[in-house]
């Protein structure tokens, strides 16, 4: 018996990356925009979606990722859009193979934009490609202004940062300059949007950005 060294050079996530690749290819062909929303539990991801779905002019669908319960899916369904709930049963992030199955439940020729609400977590979801067009970081003022630098991968990679719970800002002494300064340092290209899900302030700006992304994707 002999020990030998074997070169492999293979991506650890090669199998799941194939699912992501297939999703991206299909959605590109169909001209469907896919946004992967990532943020902490309680950041306001579902509320942002509720506010968006009631106002948007495009046809949307939602994939909800949660460890347990269908509560978010129920909230989204009441907005009258197609929704699929994925329960990861302990898993701290969504993976492309799960999303791929979920997308099979939609009538894709009747959809313009798919929002994937990832499991509440600022770390792990940033590591997994779901075949999305881009990642969106959702962060609330209540979480504190230091989050971008503490979770650099997400804030570096996302195309937009949505700051929620703007109304709470004075009560939690949110340092707005520090927050956006750190976002800028990590990602000079990120679009910066502030919203207040309760009053709906800022939702139109967010929706305009989504529409722009959709237009860009469909531009020949």
């Amino acid at each position: 018996m002999a020990t030998k060294r074997v070169s492999v050079f293979k991506s650890v996530l090669a199998a799941d990356e194939q699912f992501a690749l297939r999703i991206r290819r299909e959605m590109d062909e169909r001209g469907v925009l896919v946004l992967n929303l990532i943020g902490s539990p309680g950041a306001g991801k579902t509320s942002l979606l509720e506010g968006s779905l009631r106002r948007c002019r495009f046809r949307a669908a939602v994939v909800e990722g949660d460890i347990a319960t269908a509560r978010d899916a129920e909230r989204i369904a009441s907005c009258g859009v197609p929704v699929v709930q994925i329960n990861t049963k302990g898993g701290c992030h969504l993976e492309a193979n799960l999303v791929s199955k979920a997308l099979g439940a939609f009538e894709l020729d009747k959809i313009d934009v798919i929002f994937i609400e990832n499991v509440g977590n600022l770390v792990c979801p940033a590591e997994f490609d779901l075949g999305e067009d881009c990642k969106v970081a959702v962060c609330s003022t209540a979480e504190g202004a230091d989050k971008p630098l503490k979770y650099p991968h997400l804030f570096h990679e996302c195309k937009a940062v949505v700051l929620t719970k703007k109304d709470l800002s004075p009560y939690v002494r949110f340092d707005r300059e520090l927050f956006w300064g750190d976002v800028e340092a990590l990602n000079g290209k990120a679009v910066k949007i502030e919203v207040d899900n309760l009053t709906g302030e800022g939702i139109d700006t967010w929706l305009e950005w989504v529409e722009e992304c959709l237009e860009q994707k469909r531009r020949p």
């Binding site: 020990t3 074997v6 492999v8 799941d16 630098l149 570096h156």
Partner: protein, 120 residues
């Protein structure tokens, strides 16, 4: 704790490879992991020890080569390494910055015990 997902992916990829090549077992796995990937080496090794039991990788050791974050400015060509990724080139201030290393999640090499003369 995405380390467990990574370990599961490693096992799903290497167990069949081991069977296919009729290796007796895999004794060492060398991984290249980019600093941006937020992997905690101790957590990965812990998950690996737990999940690999009963597989041909059961006693394998894990070597993690950490790859530093390396970026390049697409406008002026400046390259740099850093602990944290930058959103802007420190030379020309352009936002057209590419991350050229630091995102690796690769199985680089293995040390395997062959079956020798024994019929596999």
């Amino acid at each position: 704790m995405h380390e467990m997902s990574l370990v599961e992916a490693i096992l799903e990829s290497l167990v069949p490879l081991c069977v296919e090549n009729r290796w007796r077992k895999i004794e060492r796995v060398v991984l290249r992991i980019g600093s941006l990937r937020q992997v905690i080496p101790e957590a990965l090794v812990f998950c690996f020890e737990a999940a690999s039991s009963g597989t041909p990788l059961a006693d394998a050791s894990i070597e993690i080569k950490e790859v530093p974050i390396r970026q390049k400015c697409a406008s002026c060509g400046l390259e740099w390494e850093g602990e944290v990724p930058l959103g802007r080139c420190s030379g020309c201030r352009s936002v057209e910055v590419e991350t050229i290393a630091g995102l690796e999640l690769e199985i680089e090499a293995l040390e395997v015990l062959e079956n020798g003369d024994e019929k596999g």
